[in-house]
């Protein structure tokens, strides 16, 4: 089972290390992780996706909560969450007409186009993992020469309840 965890942590050096070291030492798996400072610079928010059965995910959440530098750990319900990943893909074209084909595909997936050249193009797609997979599948006839992914980042839908 796939779980999206939103982890609010103290924004100070070494906290990312503690989180990843916890996953390593407990033999949990990090599928993706993205980190950034929040609107309040004292905190960072980490979005971690992980895979495991219900019991394991519950245990991961408890262990994360136990860390003193974590302020809040939330498991996000996929249906009630806006989640996106940004992917940059460099695709090689063997002839100029292929560039046009790739651009058409990219437009169909609402991608952004960067760095168009004679024989290569960089496509930026910001989407859910499903849509990214679908796009990757569509362009697999061309040669993807490089790829960089940010990992998923997510926010719960609706108004925040102040605690």
């Amino acid at each position: 089972m796939w779980a999206i965890l939103s982890v609010l942590v103290e924004n100070k050096p070494g906290v990312l290390f503690k989180i990843t070291n916890l996953f390593r030492s407990k033999n949990f798996n990090i599928d993706s992780i993205s980190v950034g400072v929040t609107e309040n610079p004292e905190f960072s928010k980490m979005t971690i996706t992980t895979i495991g059965d219900e019991k394991r995910v519950a245990q991961i959440i408890k262990q994360l909560n136990k860390l003193i530098d974590t302020v809040e750990v939330k498991r996000l319900d996929e249906k009630m969450t806006v989640y996106r990943e940004l992917v940059l893909m460099k695709i090689k074209a063997s002839k100029p007409s292929e560039i046009t084909e790739i651009m058409n595909l990219a437009n169909a997936f609402e991608c952004k186009i960067h760095d168009v050249r004679q024989s290569s193009i960089i496509v930026e797609i910001t989407a859910t993992p499903d849509k990214i997979d679908a796009f990757t599948d569509m362009v697999k006839n061309y040669k993807i020469t490089d790829i960089a992914r940010t990992g998923i980042t997510a926010l719960a839908r609706g108004v925040n309840h102040e605690s």
Binding site: G14, K62, K66, V71
Partner: protein
């Protein structure tokens, strides 16, 4: 004020009277302030022992013990001791020196990344970057170490932070956003726990180390007596309940009492208090929870559901939870007097195994030796153990009568822990006799603490059950590796009587039960540490035995 002065003042404000440690280049400024302070310094001979002494002190006094080490190897030498305290939830403050901030990351002389190295084995680690952070860091360290589920906290102080001066502010209270050690126990869960216990046909109490850490001895006993149900313990929980009590069955587990393992397997409901259901206690996880409803009380929410699935979970300090439980039971006038079928079965089983468990028949069989020790030692005496066969024999044959007088490295299983921990225990309670029940293999690992015991006038007794080998490993090689014995023969080297004498301690060789009795009596009156060397049979196995990966029901009994 300098960071070092602030450190000593802050430690004194937290009630520090003693630190165990070794000075070196990177912690000299703090030692210079230690010199001027009212805190007693106990010079150890290896940093690992400093941590074990602080650990022993912490477990007995239930306040953090403090150890000091310099940077680099001094700090890394502490790690085994810190990890031991972490595994057994023992409060400890470890203060290390570090190279100056400008040198961090430059691979400086005696630089080690102790914050990174210690991460998995500390509850928290601090590295103040300016002197003025020191008072708050110390306050937070004690708060984190001693509250909730206790554990070791490291403070790594760069040398310039020790030396530089800044204006200091000593806070009275500290708040940590991500740390909430106190959870009020959920009354409705306790209510449900009582209902389930009353409905159960074959209820049992499993008391873990949490009972000892929270000092919930009286509450545990009251509940057992009100419900009239048997009490088993984990090995770490040994001595949370008087082992001469009619309801006591002793520890369960790999080398648990036969009657305890048998009744644990037959029980249909367990009130598990302050335990993490370690593999050594419960055997195969899937088998343990089968047909058993588990009521789990623990201060650490992460323990709920980690190894075993609980029907009812009560999160909170176990003493607080048990107090509420006692109050509710008294309000409801719950007091069982009638002897149930289950209780009769428990009593019969206990009686049978106490009479019929086969023990080693030699004059210095483990059971005889340890029962002799129990006979001679006063109930208030504190015992620690090392790790190995002697430890498991202690679990089987040495009854802890007064709750909270028994301590062992149960989680990490650190050989060499018992002796320095005994010294730490004796510092916490100087008026009580302290005995380290040891094997010679373990004692050999930290025996240089004899110098500390003698020179610092901290007389403890080391009761060495000497089988001239790494006995537990030998037992496994006999049992699982077809007697291919390798790496276990210590060949009677060194001579522990002479070792004791070399350090200015007292060494006695005791070769009969009578001599053991006499030696312990002499040791109890001695002003210096006494090492009692007892030659035992190298072939004696610890039995009963639940082999690793098997269930309690698969216990192998002596034949």
């Amino acid at each position: 004020m300098s960071g070092s002065k602030a450190l000593m003042d802050a430690l004194e404000l937290e009630g520090a009277k003693t630190v165990f440690g070794i000075p070196g280049g990177a912690n000299l400024p703090m030692y210079d302030e230690l010199f001027k302070s009212n805190i007693r310094h106990i010079l150890v001979r290896h940093e690992q022992s400093a941590a074990h002494m602080a650990d022993g002190f912490g477990r007995v006094s239930r306040k953090p013990g403090i150890c000091f080490a310099t940077s680099g190897p001094g700090a890394t030498n502490l790690i085994t001791g810190i990890a031991t305290a972490h595994a057994d939830s023992s409060p400890m403050i470890a203060v290390t020196g570090q190279v100056p901030i400008s040198m961090i990351g430059k691979d400086a002389f005696q630089e080690s990344d102790i914050i990174g190295i210690s991460n998995p084995v500390v509850k928290y680690a601090f590295q103040p970057k300016t002197p003025s952070e020191v008072p708050e860091v110390v306050k937070k360290a004690f708060y984190i170490s001693s509250t909730g589920r206790p554990g070791p906290v490291l403070i790594d102080v760069p040398k310039d932070v020790q030396q530089n001066e800044e204006e200091m502010n000593f806070p009275d209270v500290v708040k940590i956003r991500g740390y909430h050690p106190w959870t009020d126990p959920d009354i409705t869960q306790i209510q449900r726990a009582i209902e389930i216990l009353l409905k159960a046909e074959r209820p049992i109490i499993l008391a873990g180390g949490g009972v000892i850490i929270s000092g919930a001895f009286a509450e545990l006993q009251t509940i057992a007596e009100l419900l009239m149900i048997p009490v088993v313990t984990t090995f770490k929980g040994k001595g949370s309940f008087p082992e001469n009590h009619i309801l006591s069955l002793g520890p369960i587990g790999m080398h648990g009492h036969a009657e305890a393992n048998k009744m644990m397997v037959e029980a249909d409901c367990v009130l598990a208090i302050g335990t993490r259901f370690s593999d050594r206690s419960v055997g195969k996880f899937e088998d343990f929870e089968k047909n058993l409803s588990i009521i789990h009380m623990d201060v650490d929410p992460a323990e709920i559901g980690k190894n075993q699935t609980a029907s009812v979970a009560v999160v909170g300090d176990v003493q607080a939870s048990l107090r509420i439980m006692v109050k509710m039971m008294i309000q409801k006038a719950i007091k069982k007097t009638e002897k149930t079928k289950w209780m009769k079965r428990v009593e019969e089983t206990k009686e049978y195994w106490q009479k019929n468990l086969k023990i080693h028949q030699g004059d210095l069989g483990a059971a005889k030796v340890l029962r002799k020790l129990r006979e001679v030692l006063p109930h208030k005496a504190i015992t620690t153990t090392e790790v190995g066969q002697h430890q498991m024999w202690t679990s089987l044959f040495y009854n802890v009568i007064q709750p909270g007088t028994f301590f062992s490295s149960t989680g990490l299983g650190t050989m060499g822990w018992g002796f320095p921990a005994a010294i730490g225990a004796k510092v916490a309670k100087p008026d009580v006799p302290v005995v380290d029940i040891a094997g010679e293999g373990s004692f050999n690992m930290t025996e240089n603490s004899l110098a500390v015991s003698v020179l610092e006038n901290i007389p403890v007794i080391v009761f060495v059950m000497n089988n001239q080998s790494l006995g537990m490993v030998a037992q496994w090689q006999r049992t699982f590796y077809d007697r291919r014995m390798i790496g276990i023969d210590l060949k009677g080297c060194p001579d522990y009587v002479k070792i004791a004498e070399a350090y200015g301690a007292q060494g006695i060789r005791a070769e009969s039960l009578d001599e053991i009795g006499k030696a312990v009596k002499i040791a109890l009156k001695s002003d210096v540490a006494t090492v009692i060397d007892i030659p035992i049979d190298p072939e004696e196995d610890v039995l009963p035995f639940v082999a690793p990966g098997t269930a309690l029901k698969d216990m192998v009994l002596p034949s």
